[in-house]
């Protein structure tokens, strides 16, 4: 079966997923889940999607750091060019995404960047994930995460709210993009192994007693986090499908193929799939995918990264289609990388890059591409891809359209 046939079989039939039917009453709270994928380290967008025949591009990098227009591993031509009259292609390892571009479920906005000249990972990540506009990057750590403004109002009914998980991050730490929102869940590793607490039922009653005591100090963030954690784990535990009393491993529908090379990324995407299928009212999911800081030996590294990344974007998309769920997935990185390669077979920190988007409904959620060109005088500070779109504004627009309208 090829990809196109697979889409047809999966996409337009609503199969009752692992979550079962009992949760239908909550589906109204999350008509659409927004999944934000952060490629940490500064993904080299010019090695993921490029005008392959641009002479400036060809002159700036050796073939192994380019998307190629010929040879053994040519790039895959996009149905629509992002640069006028140029042969725009994506990296061959991103093959799982190609027919989604053809069916317009995938879109790409190139030359997206921060309205800020920073080339620092940590400053750029902070600007991208926080609610600041980008022009001002001082004193950021106390500002809310960028997604906070797009959260639907909290369900007032306490009973109902105990049955929802509105935000999740697939990282062990709190998620910067969600800062300011209470009741965020963090799940790291395989979901079914992330729900237990020490001491079984008795341990749970003791923890509930220890973390329920309002007389100690109600503003203590540890207490709040403890209460929410126990509540959310209890909810998830009750919803996980069981075989002989044990929580079963996740089984995606037939034909949906997750890439299993990178455990963190596999579990992250499958956790999101399971939570959406459970109908717990999931509005936002934040996924981290690291390893893109390719100053050295980029060629092999990025090939692996793109294969794992695109494989599971595609699998998650197919999974949600098969479940009849709506999902918008957007991919960004803190910056793109230098046009010119360094002598270590890598690229250094740059400026603008590409933003990628998948939408199960195939809505057009991105503005038209405006390509700035790659001649030296067209580059940002003479060396990096210029931004034609402020990535923060674009992200805001996507969140607005998918979460609030």
């Amino acid at each position: 079966m090829n990809r196109r046939e697979l889409l047809k079989t999966l996409g337009y039939s609503s199969i009752a997923g692992a979550g079962g039917l009992h949760a239908l009453s909550f589906s109204a709270q999350a008509n659409n889940t927004l999944v934000f994928v952060f490629l940490r380290g500064g993904a080299d967008s010019l090695h993921m999607a490029a005008p392959v025949d641009d002479p400036n591009y060809m002159a700036a990098r050796p073939p192994e750091l380019r998307v190629l227009n010929a040879g053994n591993t040519p790039g895959l031509a996009l149905p629509k060019s992002f640069a006028p009259n140029q042969d725009c292609r994506i990296h061959p390892a991103a093959a799982p995404l190609l027919d989604l571009f053809q069916s317009e479920h995938a879109q790409l906005l190139h030359a997206c960047g921060l309205a800020n000249a920073t080339r620092s990972h940590f400053v750029a990540q902070e600007i991208l994930e926080s609610s600041v506009s980008g022009a001002n990057d001082r004193l950021l750590s106390t500002t809310n995460g960028w997604l906070q403004a797009y959260a639907a109002p909290k369900v007032a009914d306490a009973k109902l709210s105990a049955k929802t998980i509105r935000y999740v991050g697939t990282n062990s730490a709190q998620i910067r993009s969600l800062q300011g929102l209470s009741s965020g869940l963090s799940i790291s590793g395989e979901l079914r192994n992330s729900l237990s607490w020490p001491g079984d039922a008795m341990g749970k009653s003791v923890l509930e007693a220890l973390y329920a005591n309002p007389t100690v100090n109600t503003t203590d963030p540890v207490l709040t986090m403890g209460q929410e954690t126990l509540q959310q784990l209890t909810l998830l535990d009750s919803k996980m499908p069981r075989v002989d009393g044990r929580i079963a491993p996740y089984r995606p529908p037939q034909g949906v193929k997750y890439n299993t090379e990178n455990n963190d990324w596999l579990h992250a995407t499958q956790t999101v799939a399971q939570l959406i299928r459970m109908d717990v009212g999931l509005q936002m999911a934040c996924l981290d995918f690291g390893g893109w800081d390719t100053h050295e030996y980029q060629s092999g590294k990025i090939n692996n990264l793109i294969r794992q990344w695109s494989g599971n974007l595609r699998a998650l998309f197919d999974d949600m289609k098969a479940a009849g769920k709506n999902m918008t997935l957007v991919v960004a990185s803190e910056f793109g990388r230098r046009l010119r390669a360094n002598a270590s077979g890598g690229t250094d920190h740059g400026h603008a890059g590409a933003l990628w988007l998948l939408d199960t409904q195939g809505r057009k959620l991105l503005p038209a591409n405006q390509w700035p060109g790659l001649a030296t005088q067209q580059l940002d500070q003479g060396l990096d891809l210029q931004h034609r779109h402020d990535v923060k504004k674009i992200l805001g627009l996507i969140a607005q359209k998918t979460l609030l309208s």
């Binding site: 940590f122 991050g169 062990s172 730490a173 800062q179 009653s205 005591n213 203590d220 207490l223 929410e228």
Partner: protein
């Protein structure tokens, strides 16, 4: 008060620590801690009996191994261990990683048993400040020497010496790629993080404000208050040729030796004139001089004093240290910029300040224990038997504390927010139970360990009260214990004998004390 203070400066204060501290007073205790001697009997004793398990499956090239192995690689040089990185030699990944595993064991042993607790806290601080990710075998085999020669040697000493030793260290040269940086198109990775993370800090990165070096305030006088990308580009040129003897093919049939040692490659160095932080660098400087000058300028820059003082205050005082304390610490930093005990002097200033004293009683300035601190304070306060194992190290990692495996060069974030998520809290709850029930083979806790100083018959509630005091102090012991007892519906009085099974409930109750909100804070 001294309990709270000591809990900030150690991996958990036991009653014995407290006694020693009270006998000396803060000033003398600090003086003692800032001048650690080689004498460390409890640690030495633990080290001499320490073994660490190694286990892997066999293949066609080597046999399976599953054994407890004593520590034997810690004093070996990188050159002596470099053969473990040889790709052509078939060996298990665990053998290649063994130097790092041993180092990890010793770090935990130090935290649990060393008399020189403040030094260990500083080791923890600097390993994050100069973070390297040691998953690569070439980094892993060089970590013992990195930790001993750079971090432990200079951790309370002079920052410029510390920085200079790190700049030529094998792990950093690999991790931030400087070993492959050469003239023409240098690799900027090290230079950028040197400015942003190791020295001036992102508060002094002014690229969003200025695009030309002359625009940076102070530049015309040769004292720019911060840096921009042009400084990074030029500094990357200054470090070209700072490389490693990693067997690399240099062309013309020449290969570098295979020792992992620092090496300066003249032919890779960009010798021409440079301008860094508004200072002119003449062309054709002697070997290493360009890079050394950059390190000196950065170490002595006021921005570095600010950045490092802020980080030290954040680490030991509060997530949001008062600007007055940061300023006064930065002044001590600068006044002692050439002093061999510069860092200790800054630490003394911070730890004897009124701001620090105030933070100890302010709930808003509490610091969450990092998972290593959580585990070690449980061990230390209850005086549990302890041997390090990878099982425990993996649990710490699950709780967010990835010793030697933090992937990015910034090190673990130093804010309560990072350590507190639903995932990490769940894993923190596991730590006390796993330790006291010996889930990770860190040591069996039997009646003997739990009844020191008590006489038979053992009254469970008396014992629990005693241990709760040690774990949580006066303020929280009674209320936490009664919450636990209510939830467990514990009978009022229970006498325990010598049978091990009778102690299961006791161990559980102790682990619940370790899971309580109050125990999460330093």
């Amino acid at each position: 008060m001294s309990q709270a203070l000591l809990d900030r400066l150690t991996f958990g204060a036991s009653p014995l620590d407290l006694e020693a501290f009270n006998a000396l007073g803060l000033d003398d205790w600090l003086e003692d801690q800032f001048n650690p001697s080689a004498q460390d009997s409890k640690f030495d004793h633990a080290l001499s009996s320490c073994v660490m398990k190694i286990s892997y499956e066999g293949t066609a090239d080597y046999a399976a191994v599953n054994e407890n192995r004593p520590l034997s690689l810690l004093n070996k040089s990188t050159a002596e261990l470099w053969h473990l990185t040889e790709g052509q030699t078939k060996m298990a990944y665990e053998e290649r990683m063994r130097p790092l595993r041993e180092l990890t064991a010793v770090r935990l042993l130090h935290a649990a048993h060393s008399k020189w607790q403040l030094k260990e806290m500083m080791v923890d601080f600097w390993l994050d400040h100069f973070n390297v990710h040691a998953a690569d075998a070439q980094v892993a085999v060089a970590m013992p020497s990195f930790e001993n020669e750079c971090i432990r040697r200079h951790g309370l000493g002079n920052f410029q010496q510390l920085l200079a030793s790190v700049a030529q260290s094998t792990p950093m040269l690999i991790y931030l790629n400087n070993r492959s940086s050469r003239t023409g198109a240098p690799n900027e990775n090290y230079a950028r993080e040197l400015f942003e993370l190791h020295t001036l800090g992102k508060a002094h990165y002014l690229n969003d404000l200025y695009s030309k070096w002359r625009q940076v305030p102070g530049a015309e006088k040769g004292e720019p208050k911060g840096y921009i990308d042009q400084d990074v580009y030029e500094a990357a040129r200054a470090f070209t040729g700072w490389a490693l003897e990693d067997g690399r093919n240099m062309g013309s049939g020449l290969n570098l030796p295979k020792t992992g040692k620092f090496s300066y490659l003249e032919s890779w160095h960009d010798p021409y004139q440079k301008r860094i932080l508004a200072q002119d660098f003449d062309p054709f400087a002697p070997p290493l001089a360009d890079g050394q000058r950059v390190l000196a300028m950065l170490s002595q820059h006021n921005g570095t004093a600010q950045h490092l003082s802020e980080k030290l205050c954040r680490r030991f005082v509060s997530d949001t240290p008062t600007p007055s304390l940061v300023q006064s610490a930065a002044k001590v930093w600068q006044d002692n910029v050439k002093h061999p005990q510069q860092i200790a002097r800054v630490m003394r200033h911070i730890l004897t300040s009124s701001e620090f004293k105030q933070a100890l009683t302010d709930p808003a300035q509490r610091k969450l224990k990092r998972p290593l601190e959580l585990a070690m304070s449980f061990v230390r306060k209850l005086d549990l038997p302890f041997m390090p194992t990878m099982g425990l190290v993996n649990e710490l990692s699950n709780a967010g504390h990835r010793l030697y495996f933090w992937p990015t060069p910034d090190g673990h974030p130093d804010s309560n927010g990072y350590w507190l998520s639903s995932h990490t809290l769940r894993r923190r709850w596991t730590l006390p139970m796993g330790l006291i029930e010996n889930w990770w083979a860190t040591g069996f806790v039997g009646p003997d360990q739990l009844t020191a100083g008590f006489k038979q018959p053992f009254d469970e509630s008396q014992l629990l009260k005693h241990h709760a005091q040690r774990l949580l102090g006066q303020a929280h012991a009674t209320s936490t214990l009664s919450t636990i007892n209510q939830a467990l519906k514990t009978p009022d009085k229970r006498l325990l004998g010598a049978g091990n099974d009778e102690w299961l409930g006791m161990r559980r109750s102790l682990s619940y004390l370790g899971m309580s909100p109050a125990f999460q804070y330093r």
